[in-house]
């Protein structure tokens, strides 16, 4: 398959791994920010072919995992309003709120429907004119422009029974917050490829410059990841800290200006709560005043009490890269994919779920 199979070639992977082993002298700790990378690194056994002094740690880039309990509670609350249909990406269904989950609500009679695209949610709105369709907007810059495009399509078509409950988040402010926190020990970032397909590379320049930490934007196939690590190691060995693109076939320095324009036409940055990281200034997206008619927060009373994290759950520390699932007392015992306590075990791209599936006991 074009642009896929050539990046899965085992012999090429071995050669690149040899290259890394040949040039790498200094110990290094790289954070893969994105949950899709976390899973790919496990699935392809990348850790096993790297030098022992190179460590890979997982970061906060799983949108489901960083969604605050309170935001799940709001989604559950809106689903309990009569004549509301909740449309959501499947990933959110099983995430526990403070007392329920969307899946439980569905089994109790709430109309919760899984969709592949926001455009599917718009179809549901068209077909159910007497009901109100609320789409749960989660995801990073890869996903949020698609939600913005759906809002614009709804506006153009005069669809007035569609709204978005936005928990969208932005990656660069989170990376900045991790470094500003001072507890994270990291030598470089494996930056999420598809986020930069939209935003380009400029938002990482301050990270590289201010914290002298190399950032390489990397694709998701095994060759991509190995080459990205090679590029990071090259910078570390040379004492450099630059922003580079490994994932050339999908990322340009300027990103996708049309997607950015669409995104910021509908949304504006707002302070947002991240599970484990607290409130990060200007790290979330709220619908602009002009699009209030499509803002579920403005359409419904969705105030919910503050929700504490589940006792003993270390998802917060894991999302900040300061602990691994192995450090958590609940991991594999009270917390499993069948009965997840925290969100990192729920999402297939969560760090705990990936460790559970791929790491040895």
């Amino acid at each position: 398959m074009k642009y896929l199979s050539e990046y899965r070639d085992g012999a090429l992977a071995s050669k690149i791994a040899d290259g890394i082993n040949a040039i790498s002298k200094k110990p290094a700790r790289f954070m893969e920010v994105c949950g899709t990378h976390t899973v790919a690194i496990f699935r392809h056994g990348i850790r096993g072919i790297l030098p022992e002094h190179i460590e890979l740690i997982s970061g906060p880039g799983c949108p489901v995992c960083v969604t605050a309990t309170r935001d799940i509670d709001k989604a559950i609350k809106v689903g309990r309003i009569p004549d509301v249909i909740v449309a959501t990406f499947g990933d959110l269904m099983r995430v526990p709120g403070s007392e329920s989950s969307l899946q439980k609500e569905k089994s109790l009679g709430a109309d919760v429907r899984m969709v592949y695209s926001t455009m599917d949610a718009l179809d549901i709105a068209r077909q159910n004119g007497e009901k109100k369709v609320v789409f749960l907007g989660i995801g990073f810059e890869t996903t949020s422009p698609t939600i913005a495009a759906a809002v614009l399509a709804a506006e153009a078509e005069g669809i007035d029974n569609f709204s978005v409950l936005s928990s969208h988040k932005l990656i660069p402010p989170a990376v900045g917050a991790l470094l500003a926190g001072g507890e994270l020990d990291v030598s470089g970032f494996i930056c999420p490829g598809h986020v930069s397909t939209v935003i380009g590379t400029a938002p990482y320049e301050p990270v590289a410059a201010h914290y002298h930490t190399p950032c390489v934007v990397v694709g998701f196939e095994p060759i991509d990841i190995l080459q990205g690590i090679y590029m990071l190691v090259s910078q570390i060995e040379a004492g450099e800290a630059r922003v580079e693109i490994q994932y050339r076939r999908s990322v340009t320095p300027e990103g996708n200006p049309n997607a950015i324009k669409t995104l910021y036409r509908v949304f504006e940055p707002c302070d947002a709560p991240w599970r484990g990281l607290g409130v990060i200034p200007k790290s979330g997206l709220a619908l602009r005043e002009e699009y209030r008619a499509f803002d579920a927060d403005a359409q419904f009373d969705l105030e919910v009490p503050d929700a504490p994290e589940p006792p003993g759950c270390m998802c917060g520390d894991i999302l900040r890269g300061v602990k691994t699932p192995m450090d958590c007392k609940l991991f594999r015992k009270a917390c499993t994919p069948e009965n997840p306590v925290g969100p990192c075990m729920v999402s297939t791209e969560g760090t705990c779920a990936a460790y559970y599936k791929y790491s040895r006991l």
Binding site: Y3, L4, T118, S250, A259
Partner: protein, 77 residues
Amino acid sequence: MCLAVPMEVIEIDGQNARVGLGGVVRDIRLDILDERPEIGDYVIVHAGFALHRIDPEDARITLQLWKEMGAIDEVPE
């Protein structure tokens, strides 16, 4: 959740397109694309939208890097 895949454009109708990959066919939107694709182009698809048209020349830069690393002998055509 940031999974996206390269798919080949099979049909285009305004902002709608049909794309395919290994026998899988999907209908997607082109609203947020940076440049309009043509039939036969590959686009990166995420959640029902094309995010990027792949420029074969950009893809070749990666292959060039493999060559510089000594991982391949020649950049394939």
